[in-house]
């Protein structure tokens, strides 16, 4: 049923008003969520002891990732099974934070196990280990899955970020 022009204008104005209200609320709540996110991180992992582990995929032609397990000092700290949607996001350049935790200053060892399908669709499980020094201040480690074009194989590296 068609509205009268006056009624239509009134509806359009109310819709525009609601649209503005929704936009303003979303903006403010995004900011609130940001503040809460920062607060939570500071509460759970203060910067002095903070350690973060990320997973990234570069191309990923020779390895199709299913899951990653992370051990720090021989203790399992993360086990993550990826969905196809998450894999796609990783392949497009997204980076997944798989672990946020705390470590004392000193020497530590991180071991990561990557499970998935390797070349010729074969089951593939590989590990990578790194010893690293944790000092005061946050420590970032990136688990990289990269393609070795010359060997037609995937490679798994662990990069320490400053």
């Amino acid at each position: 049923m068609a509205q009268s022009p006056a009624r239509a204008a009134e509806t359009a104005s109310a819709d525009a008003d609601l649209d503005q209200a929704v936009q303003a609320l979303k903006e403010e709540l995004l900011e609130l969520n940001r503040d809460l996110f920062i607060l939570e991180e500071e509460l759970l992992a203060p910067s002095d002891t903070q350690v973060m582990v990320f997973v990234s995929v570069d191309v990923g032609s020779f390895f199709s990732l299913d899951s990653v397990q992370v051990k720090i000092d021989d203790k399992v700290v993360a086990n993550y099974l990826y969905t196809p949607r998450e894999i796609e996001a990783l392949q497009r350049g997204g980076v997944h934070r798989i672990h946020l935790g705390n470590l004392k200053s000193g020497e530590h060892e991180l071991t990561a196990f990557f499970v998935g399908k390797g070349p010729r669709d074969r089951d593939y499980r590989r590990g990578a280990t790194v010893r690293f020094a944790k000092s005061l201040g946050p420590k970032y480690l990136e688990l990289q899955i990269v393609d070795l074009e010359n060997k037609q194989q995937p490679d798994f590296r662990i990069k320490e970020w400053e």
Binding site: M1, D15, L18, D19, Q20, A21, V22, Q23, L25, K26, E27, E28, L29, L30, E31, L32, N33, R34, D35, L36, F37, I38, L39, E40, E41, E42, L43, P46, M52, F54, S56, R85, E86, E88, A89, L90, R92, G93, G94, V95, H96, R97, Y140, E142, W161
Partner: protein, 610 residues
């Protein structure tokens, strides 16, 4: 029965098609936090992407990604329905001393925003500011300019800019640009040229669903253009290429039937239209086929069969009408939106769930409804996030209280131990040790560095010597005294021989006290500092938790109120759309009943005449 309406259908196709991939591609990741925001952005989780990106911005952890971050933030604000905020973000990129590439991306984003809002003038202004230095950006700009021109009913200008973009492309061609160029050509009357272009696009090998959909659209547009220009048989070839499972298959089946009718092959029209009749009567082509089939039977002088199909059509239209009446009434039910949410989730995220409520896809296809629904869903997600935060903050508050209690318990113990540790006194003791050692060295007091065992042996030798001394003089006493002297001499020699090493060891042990003494002093200082900092930190965190809790409590009524308003809007839009669908069915129903009445009248007249 109304005659074929290829013009109306064609017009729907000629509006131009924008690619989702028109969004600016993100730059390579050089910051983990930026990459983390992308991880959520690519999953269309705009809340988490925005939160992470804004947090990284606030903590200045984006390194060289600052401008990319603003562009990404603007992009996700757009996707999150925050158009005005997105415009401000892109303006901020332009206000900053941005690189030419960043400025181009910001202008392109602003042009897209204006295009989506139907503000053609602003879209053209923004497009005019793009420097088009690299061919890929130039082709993207040409595509958007072409779409704006088509939207402004200026197909001639559309052809010019799209042809320019088409010429700039090297290697893989953008199918959206080709498709829109063909549409612009059709609208300038150059159908032959357009069909040639669409023919190539319509036969291209594709790997992805999106590309297959563009190919279907290309074949459909070519077919309707040919049908419009009086070449129905040629049009059939293109209709036949459209996938029967694609999103435009219903239109292709309907068009194929009308092409057969145009070519005078009425019987041939029945095959695609009967296929349409078997489909769920949820969109216009299926509803139209229900009266198109009996129309063909009438042309073939199959009146009885026509009457049966008209009766079947009336029945289906009536059922649909009733279903829509029920659906409109359902929108008043508070549970209804929940149901829509469950059914739309797969559709909005691109999944392929089967819909029990066949009117829903048409509802979701309406852009206005979809935007309103997405806003409602976003607000609902925000409300859920606030609830979760409220619970988490309570838990964190408890955690801090526990931490503080433990702190209050442990700190006095530490303070007591610290009080017992006086670094000055320890330094004095070290100094005394040093002096004593120097005295031992200077006076060569070897026995002061002898071991307890050695001192014990010495005492035993001295006791033996005393006992020998007390014996009556005899040759035996002399032998004993001689043995004791030899024993004494040996022991004396051993202790003196060990002295240099013992002196060195003692000197080193005293020197080694310096490092732990210095470290202890430092640790006591750090511990006292940490104790003061921890008190401050706990206090600061408690204060921030309290402020956050207050903010959440303040937002919740406003959010609840906006949710109610948005829910009402979604409901009104749904009712409006469903009512329009009902009106369309009423129109078909009227046509079917009228045709049926005419058939009965004719049959009655024939019966009366006999």
């Amino acid at each position: 029965m109304r005659r074929v309406r290829p013009t109306a259908l064609l017009y729907g196709l000629l509006l131009g098609m924008a690619s989702q991939a028109m969004a600016a591609a993100p730059a390579p990741v050089r910051s983990l936090e930026y990459g983390e925001a992308l991880f959520y952005f690519f999953q269309q989780d705009y809340l988490n992407a925005g939160v992470r990106l804004m947090a990284a911005q606030q903590r200045r952890r984006l390194g060289t990604h600052d401008q990319d971050a603003d562009l990404l933030l603007g992009g996700l604000q757009l996707a999150y329905g925050m158009h005005d905020v997105a415009a401000r973000t892109f303006d901020r990129v332009l206000d900053a001393a941005a690189t030419p590439a960043a400025r181009d991306r910001a202008w392109h984003a602003l042009a897209r925003l204006a295009y989506r809002r139907g503000d053609w003038q602003r879209a053209n202004q923004a497009l005019g500011r793009i420097s088009v230095s690299d061919p890929q950006q130039a082709a993207k700009t040409a595509l958007l300019s072409g779409l704006v021109a088509l939207a402004q009913q200026q197909p001639g200008r559309g052809v010019a800019v799209l042809q320019q973009g088409y010429g700039l492309q090297a290697g893989v061609r953008d199918p959206y640009l080709e498709y829109n160029l063909a549409i612009a050509l059709i609208r300038t009357g150059k159908s032959q040229e357009a069909v040639a272009l669409l023919d190539g696009l319509g036969q291209r090998q594709v790997e992805y669903e999106e590309a297959a959909t563009i190919r279907d659209h290309a074949n459909l547009a070519a077919a309707f253009a040919l049908l419009q220009s009086g070449a129905p048989q040629e049009a059939q070839r293109f209709f036949g290429r459209v996938r029967l499972t694609g999103t435009v298959s219903n239109l292709a089946l309907l068009g194929s039937g009308w092409a057969a009718v145009e070519a005078g092959s009425y019987a041939q029209a029945l095959t695609p239209w009967r296929e349409l009749m078997r489909r769920t009567p949820r969109d216009a082509p299926v509803l139209e086929a229900l009266i198109a089939v009996p129309f063909v039977h009438l042309q073939l002088d199959e009146n009885a069969r026509a009457a049966r199909v008209y009766e079947q059509a009336v029945e289906i239209y009536q059922e649909e009408r009733n279903a829509l009446t029920e659906a409109i009434a359902e929108t008043d039910d508070p549970e209804w939106l929940l149901q829509v949410g469950l059914l739309t989730r797969s559709s909005l995220s691109g999944g392929g769930a089967g819909f029990e409520h066949h009117w829903l896809p048409r509802l979701i296809a309406s852009n206005t409804f979809q935007e309103a629904w997405k806003n409602y869903r976003d607000l609902l997600q925000l409300e859920q996030s606030l609830s979760r935060w409220q619970q988490s903050l309570n838990a964190y508050q408890t955690m801090l209280t526990e931490r503080k209690a433990r702190f209050d318990l442990v700190v006095p113990q530490i303070e007591k131990r610290l009080a017992g540790l006086d670094p000055n006194e320890l330094h004095e003791r070290r100094k005394a040790l040093q002096t004593a050692l120097l005295d031992v060295i200077e006076t060569r007091a070897v026995w002061r560095l002898a071991t307890a065992a050695e001192k014990g042996i010495q005492r035993e030798i001295e006791a033996l010597a005393a006992r020998v001394e007390k014996l009556s003089p005899s040759s035996e006493k002399a032998a004993f005294a001689d043995r004791v002297r030899r024993l004494q001499g040996l022991h004396y020699w051993q202790v003196h021989a060990a002295f240099p090493q013992r002196r060195w060891q003692a000197t080193r042990a005293v020197d080694e006290l310096d490092a732990p003494l210095a470290q202890m002093g430092k640790r006591i200082g750090t511990l006292r500092g940490a104790r003061a900092f921890a008190r401050l930190r706990i206090g600061d965190l408690e204060e921030r938790i309290h402020r956050a809790q207050t903010r959440i409590v303040q937002y919740r009524p406003r959010l609840a109120q906006t949710l109610v308003r948005q829910r009402e809007r979604v409901k009104q839009l749904a009712q409006r759309e469903l009512t329009a669908q009902q009106a369309q069915i009423d129109s078909y129903l009227l046509q079917a009943r009228y045709a049926l009445a005419q058939l009965y009248d004719r049959a009655q007249d024939r019966g009366g005449a006999q």
